[in-house]
Symmetry: C2
Subunit: 203 residues, 2 copies
């Protein structure tokens, strides 16, 4: 009986998360109502409010359900390979219908600090471990020094893809991924070693 209950609960969660994600794509965050979510998922509003008292929390749940907890980091054997795969994946998502949902949420988040915080947590913070792993492996291979900062890597990549997607300022293709990796991300990651070399040459 316990496992049946657990399965029913999981099925209901899936139905609610799918309903949220569909409605975000169809009507957007601002016009998505709890009534519409409940109707689409065939769930009671009380059930939804009990687990997810606010709209941002419901969105966070739907995002985690749709994209998974935190992405696995690519492991191609080189820093450049790992970065090209990471940026390529980000470009692919940004250019898909999932990207439309994310872009709509980010637009709504510009006017809604609670939603902005939620998006920060489940779309940004959740990916940090992946960037750290890429940098740690590059450091062990000797491609960057221990001063290389996964936080800056993440910050810059996130801002570039988001700006390009939100305001449609250019293609999100392989050429763009190479541009970002070779002209921005690798220079940023290699810089601490170079700064240390310049410093030690001075002494």
């Amino acid at each position: 009986v316990g496992s049946t209950t657990a399965r029913l609960r999981a099925d209901r969660r899936t139905a609610i998360c799918d309903a949220v994600f569909e409605l975000l794509g169809e009507v957007g965050y601002d016009r998505m109502t709890m009534d519409a979510v409940a109707a689409r998922a065939r769930a009671s509003k009380a059930t939804i409010y009990r687990s997810w008292p606010t709209k941002p929390e419901l969105v966070a749940e739907a995002i985690v359900h749709h994209f998974g907890d935190s992405p696995a980091s690519p492991d191609t054997g080189s820093l450049r390979g790992d970065l090209l795969e990471t940026v390529g994946n980000a470009c692919q998502v940004a250019g898909s219908s999932d990207g439309d949902v994310i872009s709509g949420l980010m637009t709504a988040a510009g006017r809604n600090p609670d939603l902005a915080q939620t998006m920060q947590r489940c779309m940004y913070d959740a990916k940090h471990a992946m960037f750290q792993q890429i940098v740690d492996r590059a450091c062990r291979r000797g491609e960057v020094c221990s001063g290389a900062d996964a936080g800056v890597l993440h910050e810059v990549l996130h801002a570039l893809i988001l700006a390009r997607r939100m305001w449609d300022s250019g293609d999100l293709d392989d050429g763009y991924a190479e541009h970002v990796v070779d002209q921005v991300l690798i220079p940023v990651l290699e810089h601490p070693r170079r700064a240390a070399e310049v410093e030690s040459a001075r002494q």
Copy 2:
């Protein structure tokens, strides 16, 4: 008589541009109507439509009138000084009430391709000459090589400030400006020289 007409025309342009800028701050782009602009500026709608047939064109005119045609580039005598002043200025504008208007326009632009193009032209393209001057002077001083790319500098700076402002992900203070300049922009601009050095060491 000719100069009186020209002055009246300039006064009317100022009244219309001020009305647009105020209304953008008060009600935002989507709810700003031509009727409201005409009433606030004490101008006829026909007059407005004759010079600026579309809402994005009217916004472009108001932005150019408010911020000036294209900003003068700082000339502090060093690349780092010029970049710190440029990023500091951008942070200051982003954190002011002008930044609220820009941020509101960028939010609206996410759903309006015509407005996105207009913003690209009068808020992005118009600044390119300033970045080119900074890089050209740094190149003449020998701080960067001729491969240093003002376009990448502009792209990265724009995306970082905008993302931080739109989703309020942190302070836009002097510490942030230093972080952007020292950890991102200078590494990006210095990279082409280093790549050329590595290439020539190989040969």
